[in-house]
Symmetry: C2
């Protein structure tokens, strides 16, 4: 296969994913069919099936792309030179804001998220593990710099992530928007940072 053909294949795949996302967002996951996506792109359903064997696979590709954008933003924070406590706070706030805008503001996205959580857990788990790895790196930096006093950066970062579920998990963000008497993300981060042994404010 030549490079030009390769590029065309990648391009077609991207167009399918982008079109699927638009339809999921506008009409919902259940009401969108592979035939709808194919028609909008002026191609045959058979051509879509050359790239994705099922609507579930398309959903996974859409999910990977949305989660990938969040991961790119988080990676920039994890890699920055800021002190670890600042990075933890920005990391949490960014995760909260991006997940809220991606999955929650848009009522139609709930269906897509629910299907992904139910049928494609390994995809979600991959995202969680990549986020955990970035957080572990920040926590380890904070331990090295004397900001945090925990022993095990991996375990601590998993506790940190678990403690942020209210602010990161699409279904929970959405339920809490209905009126949860809980803390806001900055208050929660300060609380969790004390869990890391941080003595600053």
């Amino acid at each position: 296969m030549t490079d030009a053909v390769d590029r065309k294949e990648v391009d077609t795949r991207c167009r399918i994913v982008a079109q699927a996302e638009r339809f999921f967002r506008t009409f919902g996951y259940q009401k969108t069919t592979v035939a709808d996506i194919a028609k909008a792109l002026k191609m045959s359903p058979a051509n879509v099936y050359r790239f994705f064997d099922s609507k579930k696979s398309i959903n996974e590709a859409v999910g990977l792309q949305l989660m990938g954008e969040v991961e790119a933003a988080l990676l920039a924070i994890a890699d920055s030179d800021a002190p670890a406590p600042d990075r933890v706070a920005r990391f949490a706030r960014t995760m909260h804001e991006m997940n809220a805008s991606r999955y929650v503001t848009d009522r139609m996205m709930h269906e897509m998220v629910a299907v992904a959580l139910d049928e494609s857990w390994s995809i979600v788990r991959g995202h969680i593990e990549r986020v955990d790895a970035m957080m572990t790196r920040i926590v380890a930096d904070g331990i090295a710099a004397g900001d945090f006093t925990v022993d095990d950066p991996q375990q601590a970062s998993r506790c940190l992530r678990a403690g942020l579920i209210k602010f990161c998990h699409p279904q929970i963000i959405s339920q809490c928007a209905a009126g949860d008497p809980g803390p806001d993300v900055d208050t929660m981060v300060r609380f969790l940072m004390r869990g890391l042994g941080y003595r600053g404010s």
Copy 2:
């Protein structure tokens, strides 16, 4: 109305709730009708509607009863003489175990929980507020005894509860059962107690 009639009314209401719970558990919320519940109790649907104006109201009564059992167990822990850090740990573990056994082991209960979270948030919110109030009391005791160093027991207990969502929220317990690389409840409680300023182990 005489006491005997009152008692009979209360008894009928209880039987409707108990029968509804059995059906929700066995056949699922969606597939159970008010007519099914009435028939099993050898009464007319109209008689069921004298007590509950909709299936949603029956669901709320079932939910209140299930949550009430959890609250009773938690209240016994909140009221006990044990040191606050021990009570926090038992409180979290009990909440986790009771919610897991009530809502998660039983696949059919998911539907009921999803409907309640979606349509009856005020009922769920009431439960959250009662749990928060018990936790606030334990945290305040811990501050008074010098175990915890936080200033605001209410805000701290809300952070504590938010930090335990992974272990208490039926949908999250169920998703995590599919394989989440996170901490177990005891590790998480130790982490969160450091957030309260606890220096013990």
